[in-house]
Amino acid sequence: MGRIVLENVTKSFGETEVIPPLNLTIEDGEFAVFVGPSGCGKSTLLRLIAGLEDCTSGAIKIDGNDVTKVPPSKRGLAMVFQSYALYPHMTVRKNIAFPLRMAGMDQSDIDARVDQAAKVLNLDAYLDRKPGQLSGGQRQRVAIGRAIVREPAAFLFDEPLSNLDAALRVGMRMEISELHNKLETTMIYVTHDQVEAMTMANKIVVLQAGVIEQVGSPLELYRTPRNKFVAGFIGSPKMNFIEGDAAQKLGAHSVGIRPEHIDVVEANGQWQGTVGVAEHLGSDTFFHIHNTGLAETLTVRAIGDISLTHGDTIHLNPRADEMHRFGADGLRIA
């Protein structure tokens, strides 16, 4: 079980308030991702839940018990750190066994649990090595192994993949998702990478300056972003924003449209412009378009390979029903 509730939690470092009063519920078994730009307070929030930082005010409840004043080790949570935080002088086996050893468990039980965790994470062959002899991905798995042997109420991940190279990151993303499916334990995952958030989460929590901008499933956030910030943060490439007079004509203070919701047409498009940069990926083509009279650059994603290059004139048709309209306050207009 691991239902985590934050009630009016705040955190200040001296005079500066990092997190203004914040309420959030993470249901048991959920994969929640905290996402936001760096410095938005997402790591601080995770550390508050872990107990590595004390709340300035408010309450944190795990399965209905108030744990605000409970020391980190008694909260039944396990954390995986960005730098893995493995104990460098211990073997992989001892690293994974460490929390059990601290809990005073029998050696035979420890061995059984460590072996089981090693099997789940494919670490059997490395148990007698030291962290220094492992690759980044293997170290990450050891860190996860150290977390799962404790059978915690919830797992906390603090940007666990940001030290890995791109290819490995995709692989580990899958592994963590599969682990979540297998264990069905609550997981809270902090990242600044919206792709990780979109691919892994059941529930995304978008944060900016310590404030929750929106909470919802990945597709909810994609389809109906509550404000301009969420609209710009979720989705890759970023949403195009049309401001000023052009937006007024479309009936809003600003209008957002995703690159994949603009169609490239042969001629007589509703919009037209000059291609600045064309990125041909084979499966898709990304155009960065100037001189549209709408925005400085307009990004468009076309499916397949379209043979327009730098300097060509391009005709576009936006899908009217996929436009997002925002008011002067940045909030979505229904």
Binding site: M79, A85, Y87, H89, F98, P99
Partner: protein, 312 residues
């Protein structure tokens, strides 16, 4: 080839200088240790100049080996070095961990902690033996005297007087005596060298990974477990460095021994060699070679021990 020749040529002066520096004294010592060579002998004046004609083989070694004073010197050297190593490392770790957290005036405390290291060994010895440890005029004498006076005064006090009348009169310890002078040396050198250990351990503690500690906190490790399983292994290498450097320095202690008791009952190997040098250069050289061997044994032994216990 030319690429390598030029750097090697440039290195040559330094290498030659080092070889010269090392090899000349060592080979002279070796040579003297195998000949009869004394500074003053009226019956055999030919022994007073070093010459291959006075070859004695292993005679000098045999002579030294059979001296009780030689074995006492080795024993004393080991006692002093091992005690100092243990005390400086233990105190160094304790103090370094203590001042590794932030508190007002930390910079000041650090400077003060390092300062004993800048005192000259001879001055250090004079200060300790005369001002602190002297049984009459030193701090020790004054303190013991004050305690005795206080107890004597309390013996007549109501209610608690009976308790204090059970107490004996305390006697100050004379640290120049045969039995205690080694302890005086251990104390003063520990005081002087603990800052060195603190300095090394402090820099090492600053580089300790904080996320590892946080991970350990979440894993349920208390303060002691964190120290035992994270900090101490992290300090393994600095401890080895401190032990090795100090072992080298303290095997050659001389000034403190001279000042505390003029070697009375407290000769270590260098002091014993120093006494032999007054006349018997051959025997002194043989002892010197023994000292080199001993230093190597100590170094290997200590490094092995530390390596095994701390690196897990």
């Amino acid at each position: 080839m030319a690429n390598r020749t030029i750097p090697r040529l440039l290195q040559t002066p330094a290498v030659l200088l080092l070889l010269f520096w090392m090899l000349v004294p060592l080979s002279m010592t070796l040579f003297f240790s195998f000949i009869r060579y004394v500074l003053n002998n009226l019956r055999r004046p030919e022994w007073t100049s070093p010459s291959i004609d006075n070859w004695r083989g292993f005679g000098n070694y045999e002579y030294v080996w059979n001296q009780d004073a030689f074995w006492l010197a080795i024993q004393n050297s080991l006692l002093i070095v091992c005690s100092i190593l243990f005390l400086t490392v233990a105190l160094g770790i304790a103090v370094a961990v203590l001042i590794n957290r932030s508190f007002p005036g930390r910079g000041m405390v650090r400077v003060l902690l390092i300062s004993p290291f800048f005192v000259m060994p001879a001055v250090n010895a004079v200060l300790w033996i005369n001002m602190l440890l002297d049984p009459v005029l030193g701090l020790q004498g004054i303190a013991v005297d004050a305690i005795n006076t206080t107890i004597a005064g309390l013996k007549d006090a109501p209610l608690v007087g009976w308790f204090f009348s059970l107490w004996p009169q305390f006697e100050p310890i004379s640290f120049r005596a045969t039995q205690t002078s080694a302890y005086a040396v251990i104390m003063m050198v520990t005081w002087q060298w603990t800052p060195f250990a603190i300095l090394i351990f402090m820099t090492s503690l600053q580089s300790e990974d904080q996320q590892q500690k946080e991970a350990a906190v979440l894993d349920g490790a208390g303060a002691w477990s964190q120290f035992r399983f994270l900090t101490l292994p992290h300090l393994g290498r600095p401890i080895a460095i401190v032990v090795m450097i100090q072992a080298i320095f303290h095997l050659s202690l001389y000034a403190e021994i001279e000042i505390v008791s003029r070697g009375n009952g407290n000769k270590n190997l260098p002091y014993y060699i120093g006494e032999l040098v007054n006349n018997n250069i051959g025997a002194a050289s043989a002892t010197g070679i023994f000292a080199v061997i001993l230093a190597n044994i100590v170094a290997i032994f200590l490094l092995r021990m530390i390596g095994k216990t701390l690196m897990e």
